[in-house]
Structures are given as C-alpha cells and as structure tokens.
C-alpha cells in the first residue's frame, strides 16, 4: 500500500526558496493537511508530490516507486503516479457536460464503455448530483461544481488524493457541510488524502496529521490535538487555535529539575513542568503561552480590567488588560461585563507552554500557580 516519502526535498525559484529540506512520511490512509500562511510552500509541496512541479533537490517515493530523484534525474510524469488531484478552482472543463467531465478521465484510462457508465452513475449518486448530468459547469452553483470536481477526481479510484484548498471558494455554510462530507469520504474511499489549506480550523477538524509550514520550512508534523496542546514553537502556537493563544513575556529562574520561578504581570509564579526543564542558571527570558480557555475569570490572584466583551452566544470572549498586556479569555455561556470593570482571574490547567524568549521554541509544558 502506498506510503509517500519525502527526503530532503527543496524547491527554489531562482533565488527564492519555496520549500527547504523537507522530510516527511505520509502513511497509507492518512488524512494529512498541509497548513500554513499563504506563501509558506504548502501548495508547492503538494504539487511536487503530484508531479506538477519538479523539486530542485531531494527524492520523493510513492509506495516502492521512486517518482522523483534529483540526483538521478528521475522524474515520473503525474499521469503515472496513480493519483487524483482536486484543484482550488475546480478546473472543470467548461466545454464538457458534467457527465463528460467525469467520464473523460476514465476514457483515457481505457475503461470499457459500460463500466464508465456504471462508475459515473455511481459517482453522481454518491455526490448527489444525478440531476445535473447533462449540464455544463457554468450552469452549476459553486457547491455543485465542487461536487462535480470531487466526482471527477474520485472516479478513477486513485490511491492517493491531493486537494489544494478545495473549499476556499465556497461560502461559509457550504464549506462546513463539505468538510463533513470530505471526512466521511476519506473513511469511505479507503485512500490517502493530502490536503492543503490556510484555514487552521479546517486543518484541525479534518486531519489525522497536520503538517504546519512557514516560509518553506516544516514547523511541526503531528496529530492535530498534539499540535494544539503541545506546539513545537511560538509560531505554531500562534497559528493554531481560535481565539489565539496569549503570549506573556516573563523571566524564569530554575528552582528544581522540573520547576521554575517565573515573574510576570509584576508578580511571582511557580511553573511546574511535566518534563525536566532545560534552563540556564540565573535569569532566563521566556514567553509563557496560555490558551484563552486556561484563563478563568473571578476568584483569582491576578488583577486586570475588562477591555471589551465579545459575546457570541455559546461562549463569550473577554479581552482583559493587565498592565501593558492584553489577554484573551473565553468564558462559557453569555456574560457581559461593562467596559473597564476591574476583574481578577487565575491561570488553570497543566497545558501552559513555556517558550524560549529568543529561539521561541517550546521548552516545556506545565502548570502555573501563584507563588
């Protein structure tokens, strides 16, 4: 069964480095999302695996076949890689009907006429677009076009399916709906999905593994909840999660192998780490990362003021100002605080992250308690 292996893959456009020394393994039947801000090299990575783009260096293996090797000059055409590709703007052929769009690929794979008919009908039914069979793409809505594109991609039963931001052209409601269906589709089709998106929520909800990239460099490649709970560095922590994590500048001094004394908000706290702490002796500049859900309002030792309250029904986001810092906290249910109301809060849970102040790398995961 196919396992996709990327070894030291680098892509340069002239002097601009799009992807740098990327190593990753995509297991069979994974649903991997390539996530990152625009221009981070995720689409380039996807297109390189698909064979639509040639890496400058490195080697790509699909299953036991080397499909690209810069050193040996091997470059197998995308047609021979047994893959499917779902394009961002669908790339439906405007001069062919829905049926022809789906059937065209199968004709080229030398399928028999009646099996083409059967397969297309199956796809039409699966994606609930039977009634549009004779229509042209321009006569369909965005969501319907999207389904046709999916049907066309899935029809030849590709082992691996690549998707390049397939939902970004849909409206919010439809996007949510298609997300569910894609996840279901992954389970039903038994194939490997590689999915590019810049929407962290999409990446989190769909994937079995998230590959987060920034300016061509891999930042973290882990299951979504690991990425959320134990981000490799500040960039990852900042990119994943909504509302975003609070970052508080602090100074830390080592207390024992697994604990430290930190000073933030002009107060002293104790940081208990889950693993041994790699801190130098004396004062260390660190950044304490606190997810909004770990800030509990009321009954705390830290004093702040309400900057603004943003209720959204099920939950309420409260922005606090503490000294010069602005923090975000999330409270369940609807609450409304007046502006500038003094409020106190505490930091709860053991999912508080300590980042190195300079390298911004994750030093440790732990809990914070008042000293």
């Amino acid at each position: 069964m196919p396992e996709i292996r990327l070894e030291h893959v680098t892509k340069r456009f002239d002097k601009f480095v799009a992807v740098e020394d990327l190593n990753m393994v995509i297991e069979d039947r994974d649903f991997v999302t390539l996530l990152g801000p625009s221009g981070c090299g995720k689409t380039t990575t996807l297109r390189m695996i698909a064979g639509l783009e040639s890496p400058t260096e490195g080697r790509i293996t699909i299953g036991d076949q080397v499909v690209f090797d810069a050193a040996e000059g091997i470059n197998i055409s995308p047609a021979k890689r047994d893959i499917g590709f779902l394009f961002q703007n669908y790339a439906l052929w405007p001069h062919m009907t829905v049926y022809q769009n789906i059937a065209f690929g199968l004709e080229n794979l030398k399928w028999k006429k009646d099996s083409i008919r059967t397969r297309v009908d199956e796809m039409l039914k699966m994606l609930k677009i039977e009634q549009f069979e004779k229509r042209y793409p321009s006569e369909l809505s965005g969501g319907q076009q999207q389904r046709v594109a999916i049907a066309r991609t899935l029809a030849p039963r590709p082992k691996v399916l690549f998707m390049d931001e397939p939902l970004s052209n849909l409206d919010a409601k439809l996007r949510l709906e298609m997300r569910t269906e894609l996840k279901r589709l992954h389970a039903d089709t038994d194939s490997t999905f590689v999915y590019v998106t810049h929407d962290q929520l999409e990446a989190m909800t769909l994937a079995t593994k998230v590959c987060l990239m920034q300016t061509g460099v891999l930042q973290q490649y882990d299951p979504p909840l690991t990425v959320y709970n134990n981000p490799a560095n500040r960039f990852v922590a900042d990119f994943v999660g909504n509302p975003t994590m609070n970052f508080v500048k602090a100074v830390a001094g080592k207390a024992s192998d697994k604990s430290a004394i930190i000073s933030m908000f002009g107060k002293l706290f104790r940081f208990d780490s889950q693993s041994s702490l790699d801190l130098a002796d004396g004062e260390n500049d660190v950044i304490i990362g606190i997810r909004p859900e770990f800030i509990r309002l009321g009954n705390g030792t830290i004093d702040g003021k309400v900057y603004a309250t943003l209720p959204s029904g099920m939950e309420t986001m409260v922005k606090l100002s503490v000294g010069n810092e602005t923090l975000t906290s999330v409270a369940f249910g609807s609450v409304d605080y007046p502006f500038n109301m003094p409020i106190d809060f505490e930091i709860i849970g053991n999912g508080i992250v300590m980042f190195d102040g300079k390298t911004e790398k994750n030093l440790s995961l732990g809990s914070v308690s008042p000293q």
Binding site: I74, A91, W93, G105, L106, N108
Partner: protein
C-alpha cells in the same frame, strides 16, 4: 570502485535529465522553434547586412565600381547613400518625408480614433453599436483602398493624369494638387486608415478602466473636465503613446499609400525609394534602406518598452467596469453620431462606390458613358491594354488562386505555430528558452514588411528559393507569426494551468489535451490567431512586392502593376480584393464569433 560508481551515476543522471526534459512537449516545441525561428530571422538579417558591402551585377555600371567583380567587397553603397551628392535625393529627403508623414498620420489617427473611443465609452451618443462596427472598416480593408479612393474622389483635369474624379464630375469642384498628391493626402489617408487602431487600443483601456476611479473623483466633487484631464487622460496615456508609436512605425513602413499618392508631385519616402533601388538591381543601396527601417522599428519598440515599462502594459489597467454614468450630451448626441457616421461612410462605403463607378467608365474618370466590358469581356478590352474582362482574365485567376493559397498557407502555418509557441511559452514562463522563443517570434513584427521582404530576397539566392511560391509562403508565415503567437500566449495565460493538469493527471496524452481540452476552450482566440494572418496576407502588398513575379503573382502585386496604367481594370480588381477580404472576415466572424473590435463596441 566508488569512482566507477559515481561516473556511471553521473552519466545516467545526464541521460535521465535529458529524457525528463524532452518528455515535456513544451520543451520540444520551444527547442525546435528557437532553432528554426533563429535561422529564419537572424540569418536573413545577417545576409542583408553583408550584401550592403557587396557588388551586384547591375551596380557595375557605376564608374566608381568599374573594374570590380560581382560579389567583391566595397563601401561604395554606404558612401553613396549617406555622404555623396546624391544622398539628399536618395536618402535624406525620403527620410524627412517619411518622418513628417508618419508624425502627421499618428496625430490624425489618435485624435480621430481617440475622440470616437471616448464618445462611445463615456457618453450617451446614439447608434453606438453601428458606429463601433462601421468605424473599424478602414482597418479591415487594404491600406491602399483609401489612397485610391482619395485619388478617384478628388482627381480633376487640372492635375495628375488629367481625368475627372467623383467630386469634379458631380459638383465641378477642383481642389489643388497638394490636396490630392503628396505629403498631406498621404498623412490624412494613413491617419484615417490607422484611426480604428487608435480606437481599439484607447477604447479598450477606457472600457476596462475601473469606473470607480472616475466615480471616486466625482464624489470628491471634481468637475467632468477635471476628471478627464486628471484621471482619464493620465490612465490612457500609455495607450496613447503606444498608439502613437505603432501608427508611426506602421506609417514609416507603409508602401502602398505613398506609392499611389506620392506619384506626380515627386513625393518620395523610404519605402518607395527602396523599391526603385531594388527594381533597378541596386541591391546594395536598397538593403541599406531596409537596415535603416529595421533600426527605426527597433528604436520605436525600445522607446515603447521604456515608456510603458512593459510591452503589454497598456492592458494592465483592469478592474470591474461597473455601471458607468455616461456624460449627457443632450441634442449633441444625435449631431455627433451623425457626423461620425457620415465620416465612416466617407471612409468605408464611398470608396467601394467610386471603385465600382470607375471600373464601368469607357473613358477613365468620365461618368457619361458606362460599360461592363472591364468585368465581363471575353476578349481584350477596347482600351487597348491587352487585358480581358476581369472575370475572363487568366492573370486575375492565377493571382486569385495564388493569393488564396498563399494566405491559407501562411495562416495555417503562423496560426498553428503561434498556438504551439503560446502554449509552450505560457507553460515554461520565465525560462530562458521561453523568453528566447517569445522574442524571436515577436521579432518580425519590428521589421518593416518591405525590409523583411528585402531580407528574404537576400536569402532566396543562397537557399535556391528565388522566385518560388515557397519563399512567399515562408516570409508571410514569419511576418504574421507575431499576431498568432501573441494571441496564443494571451489565450494560454488566461487559461488556468489547472485545466490542463486536471487532464494530465488522468493520463490524457498531450495531443489529446490540446485538441480536446485546450483548443475548444479558447477556440475564438485561437481562431483569430488564424484569421488575422489570413486577412492581413490577402491585402498585403509591401511584404510581397519585391518577391512576387511571373507565376507567383498575387492579387495585390497585380493591382500595383495595373494601377498606374489601366484605371478601369485596376478599379475592378481593387473592388474584387476588398470584397474578398470583407467576405472572409464576415464568414469567419459569423462562424466563430472572433472579431477585431470585440470588447470595444457599445
């Protein structure tokens, strides 16, 4: 052992890379076209330059060259052209005339075309659809149409050939000679001919210009006049400049108009003088003129590129054209429409009427007795020119067949190569090969038709192709390749690469992707890549005038032969050519929906 291994691997690596390179059709196309185009554009230029320093057979008569053998090296041609007593008559005077004529023509084209474009896109003038389709007529018709019409119209017994023209015959008006022959009429006729060009370029920009830009100014309480001056004009300025340069360079290389209207007043320009040199066998001097014309073309393109930043930058101003509030012209909207329609009729309908009338006169220019013999006589006509009626004249049929065959061949070749180059350049954008192919395919555009004709005259001998139909087809294909490759590249750039990749992934072979996916989607653009070379070729004179002769005579060169002597037959032939060109345009337009004025009309 290790060394051996790396050596084998190195060789295999090179072989693998070459294999990977050539499995991409785009790479194959680019390589082949760079080699072929390089040969057929650079080689003629080199020969052209070399030939300016050689002695040719007819040049031995010059006393300065006496004793030298044919083919020997000499700087005499350059000396005679630029420095000798004759240089004024042979070079500087024609140069001055050509520049004056071209500058005047450019201004006329821009003012006339620009005003109409503005009226159509920005005001509530009446009859927009009609005007925009009639206005471009002169551009579809051969360039000499207006010239011979001008002659037919203003001719009077006091000047030139002494026959009466339309205006004289109907109203007895005698205009002065300077208004019929020489600088002024040449400039006016060229200006009118190229006005549609200005209209298309400027109109295109005005139409694509985001209306919000002007609306934003309206909201800030700028007056209409101020908006035009401060917003509209600066934005269309690059288009104005491009139009100026393109009309200027087209006029510089115009041959038919100054040939038809220069005549009796001794008004000579570079092209007409060059043709005389080459007809006399003085190739050295003729080729020097060709080189100067090419240099002019290059300088103009360089200015254009420098001024507008990029070759195509006048199309970069785009945006959503929302609901534009048209300038209300009140009663003027009828008056302006009437004036423009009258002008259009003068330029595009009246010529056809005068050609028909002139072709029916027993005595040239005398409308009192009419005859059909110049059309249908089966024996030689009574005017004693040895030519039969147009429908029974073998020369006409040979030329007609040749013209169709030539245009068809050129269109097929240029159109197809244009699509392929467009495809590959768009695919491999930014690579060295793509840039080379793009530039080589565009190079012929910069070479004035006649200079390119001269260059191919120069290579005809060494390649053993002199006076062959193949040479005509070759020069035509090369000359019109830029149109086709431009439209090919544009069509491909509009098409998202994903459309082809979606087919590539399901293993559709390259030719099938082209035929089944890419061509059908961009059909109308691609077909205009075939149409443009075809219609241009049908009406082309200056490119072929040096090359066509005897059995390779084509309609336009035949017309040029007849024009000076056999008025009625020439007018009949003229009408035949124009009707053929219009008919082809009309048919293709109806069949494919591709048309020149697409996107400008109201």
């Amino acid at each position: 052992m290790t060394e051996n291994f790396t050596a084998v691997s190195g060789k295999r690596r090179v072989m693998n890379s070459i294999k990977a390179f050539f499995t991409q059709p785009a790479n194959i196309i680019l390589t082949v076209s760079v080699v072929l185009l390089g040969f057929f554009t650079i080689y003629p230029l080199v020969l052209l330059v070399l030939d300016t320093t050689k002695v040719h057979i007819a040049e031995v008569m010059f006393k300065e060259l006496r004793g030298l053998k044919v083919g020997q090296f000499t700087f005499f041609h350059w000396y005679r052209m630029l420095l000798s007593d004759m240089s004024g008559v042979y070079f500087w005077n024609p140069l001055k005339n050509a520049v004056l004529m071209s500058v005047l023509a450019s201004f006329i084209a821009i003012i006339y075309g620009g005003v109409v474009a503005f009226l159509i896109t920005r005001t509530d003038i009446k009859a927009k659809k009609f005007i925009s389709s009639v206005f471009i007529f002169p551009y579809i018709m051969p360039s000499w149409t207006l010239a011979s019409f001008w002659k037919n119209f203003f001719q009077n017994p006091g000047i030139g050939s002494g026959t009466g023209g339309f205006l004289f015959n109907l109203l007895g008006v005698r205009v002065s000679e300077g208004f019929v022959y020489g600088l002024v009429p040449c400039a006016i006729v060229l200006g009118l001919h190229y006005a549609p060009f200005a209209y298309i370029l400027i109109g295109g920009i005005l139409r694509n210009m985001d209306a919000n830009l002007e609306e934003a100014a309206t909201i800030l309480k700028a007056s209409r006049a101020k908006i035009i001056r401060k917003i509209t004009l600066p934005i269309v300025l690059p288009a104005l400049l491009s139009t100026f340069l393109l009309v200027f360079s087209s006029s510089m290389s115009a041959y038919a108009v100054p040939q038809f209207l220069g005549g009796s007043s001794g008004f000579t320009v570079l092209t007409t003088t060059m043709k005389q040199f080459i007809n006399s066998g003085w190739y050295g001097q003729g080729y020097i003129m060709a080189i100067f014309m090419i240099i002019f073309g290059l300088v103009i393109l360089a200015i254009n590129q420098y001024a507008t930043g990029k070759r195509k930058s006048f199309t970069t101003v785009t945006g959503k054209s929302g609901q534009i509030s048209y300038i209300k012209m009140g009663g003027w909207k009828y008056a302006a429409a009437a004036i423009i329609i009258a002008l259009c009729i003068f330029c595009s309908v009246l010529p056809l009427i005068t050609f028909a009338l002139e072709s029916l006169c027993v005595i040239p220019g005398d409308y009192s007795t009419l005859t059909l013999e110049f059309w249908i006589s089966k024996t030689t006509t009574s005017s004693g020119n040895g030519i039969r009626g147009l429908f029974y004249e073998p020369q006409v049929w040979t030329a007609f067949k040749n013209s169709l065959l030539l245009s068809g061949t050129c269109a097929l070749f240029a159109g197809t190569v244009g699509i392929l180059i467009g495809y590959s350049v768009a695919k491999r954008r930014g690579t060295f090969l793509a840039k080379a192919a793009d530039n080589l395919a565009f190079l012929p555009y910069l070479m004035p038709s006649m200079a390119l004709g001269a260059a191919f005259l120069a290579i005809g001998g060494p390649l053993g192709l002199s006076k062959t139909f193949f040479l005509l087809a070759l020069v035509g294909s090369i000359k019109y390749l830029p149109f086709a490759s431009r439209s090919g590249i544009n069509a491909m750039l509009q098409l998202s690469g994903e459309i082809e990749e979606a087919a590539l992934i399901v293993n559709v072979p390259w030719w099938k992707r082209m035929v089944r996916v890419i061509f059908p989607i961009q059909r109308s653009t691609f077909i205009s890549g075939y149409l443009l070379p075809f219609t241009s070729c049908m009406r082309e004179l200056s490119l072929f005038t040096l090359l066509a002769s005897g059995s390779t005579v084509i309609l336009t060169t035949l017309l040029e032969d007849w024009q000076a002597w056999w008025t009625q037959s020439a007018n009949a032939l003229n009408l035949l050519i124009i009707i053929t060109v219009l008919a082809v345009n009309f048919i293709v337009n109806k069949l494919t929906g591709a048309s020149i004025d697409k996107g400008v009309g109201g």
